[in-house]
């Protein structure tokens, strides 16, 4: 029951207050009926009122006097904007710009369907409660939220939003647990998981016959989780990790006036006397060391993982499958290249736009049902349709392998077969998943 909410409020002032609530679930509806009863109006009268309102609203919607409004939230946290490479330092609007780009695309489509999309961007400060932020969004009539949050914060927001009927799109967190033991029925993941990224890289390295990996792992938690995914991928696809080493983060800045003199000496020493290996694989999500590895290793070996050949959902160099248009319109609008986080947010917003175009309602439940159905397919410049894994609400997607200048390859690689979709060779498959959606 969620037609153009604004027109409802203008025209149905005599309805019980709770009926005007934008994020109402069916249980709340029953509750509000009891509420009406307490105030003396009979249940029948209330039902008639509702039925009349529904008919009226349908007419209003069909009359298309006002577009159907979709207010989409974007929840994010202040993050340190660091990168080893100066050209890779994320912009302040990293991610949210992708959401805005898709809002623009949705609104171009919306012109023809009488639909209009707006973005409500919320940036949490240190210590602010994501649950309260989600509730505040619900109060403003926002029932669909794109979240670029760390896993615990995302779960807090999603669980708070559950009671208000909110649906979340995880656009940033690659954590496996959000798709496994901690999966939620109201959280869709457009960000690929670490396992998907690691599997995509592993398939290519194995295809290339670079099967002996030496693994270098950062000392932060996300680095260790990425290393776990890489170890799993090696086992899955027949690569061998011949040795491992931890690169301790001793602190310090990424840039200095003294320059790279020390790095040039440190890295060869760090990679000296390793067992024979084909490729150096780095797990460094924290941007501490991996960027310094290529061309500096003791042995002349390629680097992959967090530097060198990087698995990612998007790269500004992707120009295949019509991606040039996407890159052009992004650069025109935001004056910077489009990142993976931008693409993950764009994809989420386009999933919303695409389901809204088909279902023609502003009801997160109905839109989520459509996104999960066999009728749903999203075009996102990846050369094939993207669909949703119904067991954990993870978006199936090919993974690009880039050296930052060109797309070297795209996984899944030829020959890695699957009985349902080759895309399910990336990440945890249905039979391996521990997710129980609730």
């Amino acid at each position: 029951m969620k037609f153009g909410a604004r027109s409802v409020m203008l025209r149905c002032k005599k309805q019980p207050a709770s009926l005007r609530h934008d994020g109402m679930t069916s249980t709340q509806m029953t509750h509000s009926l009891d509420h009406v009863d307490l105030f003396g109006a009979s249940l029948t009268v209330a039902r008639t009122l509702i039925a009349a309102a529904v008919v009226f609203l349908t007419i209003v919607a069909a009359g298309a006097t006002e577009p159907l409004e979709f207010k989409i939230g974007y929840l994010r946290v202040e993050k340190p904007r660091v990168a080893i490479s100066l050209v890779a330092v994320p912009a302040e609007n990293n991610g949210v710009a992708g959401a805005q780009a898709a809002i623009n695309d949705n609104n171009t489509t919306g012109k023809f369907l009488d639909q209009h999309f707006t973005l409500d961007d919320v940036k949490l400060k240190e210590g602010e409660d994501p649950a309260a932020a989600a509730a505040a969004l619900a109060d403003r009539g926002v029932s669909i939220v794109l979240a670029d949050l760390p896993p615990d914060a995302l779960l807090r927001a999603a669980d708070a939003g559950h009671a208000r009927g909110q649906v979340f799109f995880n656009v940033g967190a690659p954590d496996e647990r959000l798709r496994e033991n901690d999966c939620r029925a109201n959280v869709i993941h457009t960000a690929p998981s670490r396992a998907m990224l690691a599997d995509a890289l592993a398939q290519y390295l194995v295809w290339k016959q670079w099967k002996r990996w030496f693994l270098v792992v950062g000392s932060h938690e996300p680095d260790k989780l990425y290393a776990d995914a890489l170890r799993r991928a090696a086992t899955r696809f027949g690569a061998k990790i011949v040795g491992e080493k931890v690169f301790e983060d001793t602190g310090g800045s990424r840039r200095s006036d003294t320059g790279v003199v020390q790095v040039q000496r440190q890295i060869p020493v760090f990679t000296q006397q390793l067992p024979a290996y084909d490729v150096l694989v780095a797990a460094d999500e924290s941007e501490v060391f991996a960027g310094y590895l290529p061309y500096r290793t003791w042995d002349p070996r390629p680097v992959a993982g967090s530097a060198g050949l990087v698995p990612t959902s998007w790269d500004a160099s992707n120009d295949q499958w019509g991606a040039t248009q996407m890159q052009d319109r992004f650069i025109r609008e935001f004056k910077r290249p489009m990142t993976a986080l931008d693409m993950q947010a764009w994809t989420a917003m386009r999933m919303i736009g695409e389901s809204a175009a088909h279902k023609r309602v502003n009801d997160p439940k109905a839109l989520l049902e459509f996104i999960k159905s066999a009728d749903f397919a999203l075009a996102a410049f990846k050369g094939q349709k993207l669909t949703l894994r119904d067991w954990n609400l993870q978006l199936r997607q090919p993974i690009l392998l880039t050296d930052g200048r060109t797309i070297v390859s795209v996984s899944p690689q030829e020959g890695f077969l699957h009985q349902f979709s080759e895309l399910d060779t990336l990440g945890y498959d249905r039979s391996e998943s521990k997710c129980k959606l609730q």
């Binding site: 171009t108 489509t109 023809f112 019509g322 075009a379 094939q384 349709k385 979709s421």
Partner: protein
């Protein structure tokens, strides 16, 4: 091959048919090679290569048959090739990044999809001048015009719609939602149906051009292939309106469809990553461009068999065949 040609000649003479003085010529745009390969469709041989601008894709002959028009997207123009000299002689103000275009039945107006600007550009052909534009959805691509010349259709790849445009008023009269990434449109010759291929959605939507309703969605299933690999793009429908051929991209097949039942009757194995198709004017052959295998497959329309592949330039994309 020579034996086959002699045999063909023999049959032709035997039947008392005179061979045309000029053979039909097929023009194949090679997206990466920046060239057009010219194929003699009697000999089924490449006879010439023409250098054109950057990233040639959409290709058609003018209605008078005097020029080949080829959209060279990375040069933001449409080049005109003189069919007699085989030289690029002029360009058209197509707007940015042209890919596909269509001509009205008189050949006086050309409509071009500009993917980057969400517009369709209208060009006056005799004057070779830009007349105006129509705003459509995100990333317009497929372009078609109804046989009566009154309705222009543009598909937008990210909006996922077929936009019906009145050619007189240049206003959109209807928007029909189809499956993901609609790339190509074809009217049935009698104008009773519009077919729209959705590359990523993997379907062909059949639309009633009068009611603007999707009346049928054609799906494809090929044993041993995942649904993601089936990506319909180019469509060719025979003049009698009975049979349609749909190129299925990385499925490396062309689907043959009975237009009455809308059922697939056969899948023909062609080269890799088949993009577009075109009939010879006698509808004896259907040529397909195969992007990955750098060749053109020749389908014998009567027997529904692939009889030959012809090597062309790098990454062939579009194909157009002269009518005389």
């Amino acid at each position: 091959m020579q034996a086959a040609v002699s045999l063909l000649l023999g049959v032709a003479i035997g039947l008392g048919v005179t061979l045309p003085a000029h053979a039909y010529m097929a023009y194949v745009s090679n997206e990466k090679g920046n060239t057009i390969t010219v194929i003699d469709t009697d000999k089924l041989q490449a006879v010439r290569t023409i250098k054109v601008g950057q990233r040639p894709r959409g290709i058609e002959l003018t209605k008078d048959g005097n020029f080949v028009l080829v959209a060279v997207g990375d040069d933001d123009t449409i080049q005109m090739i003189d069919t007699k000299s085989g030289e690029v002689v002029s360009t058209l103000p197509s707007g940015a990044d042209p890919e596909l275009f269509t001509q009205d039945p008189t050949g006086n107006l050309l409509y071009v999809a500009n993917e980057n600007d969400n517009t369709v550009t209208v060009i006056d052909m005799p004057k070779r001048a830009r007349l105006g534009e129509v705003q459509v959805g995100v990333e317009p691509e497929g372009m078609g015009i109804s046989p009566d010349g009154k309705t222009l259709v543009a598909t937008s790849e990210t909006t996922n719609m077929a936009h019906f445009i009145d050619v007189d008023t240049r206003k959109i009269v209807a928007n029909v939602l189809v499956d993901a990434r609609p790339r190509f449109v074809a009217f049935k010759p009698d104008g009773s149906e519009l077919w729209v291929s959705s590359e990523v959605g993997g379907t062909v939507s059949v639309i009633d051009p009068h009611t603007h309703q999707v009346t049928k969605k054609i799906t494809f299933a090929i044993p041993g292939l995942r649904s993601e690999a089936i990506q319909p793009v180019g469509i060719s429908i025979t003049r009698d309106g009975k049979t349609a051929f749909v190129a299925l991209g990385p499925a490396n097949r062309v689907a043959v469809i009975d237009t009455n039942t809308h059922e697939v009757t056969k899948y023909l194995l062609v080269g890799q990553r088949v993009w577009h198709t075109a009939f010879t004017p006698d509808e004896r052959y259907l040529l397909t461009t195969n992007g990955v295998s750098n060749d053109v497959s020749v389908i014998d329309v009567a027997s529904l068999k692939v009889i030959k592949s012809i090597q062309v330039g790098e990454l062939p994309w579009g194909v157009a065949i002269s009518q005389k």
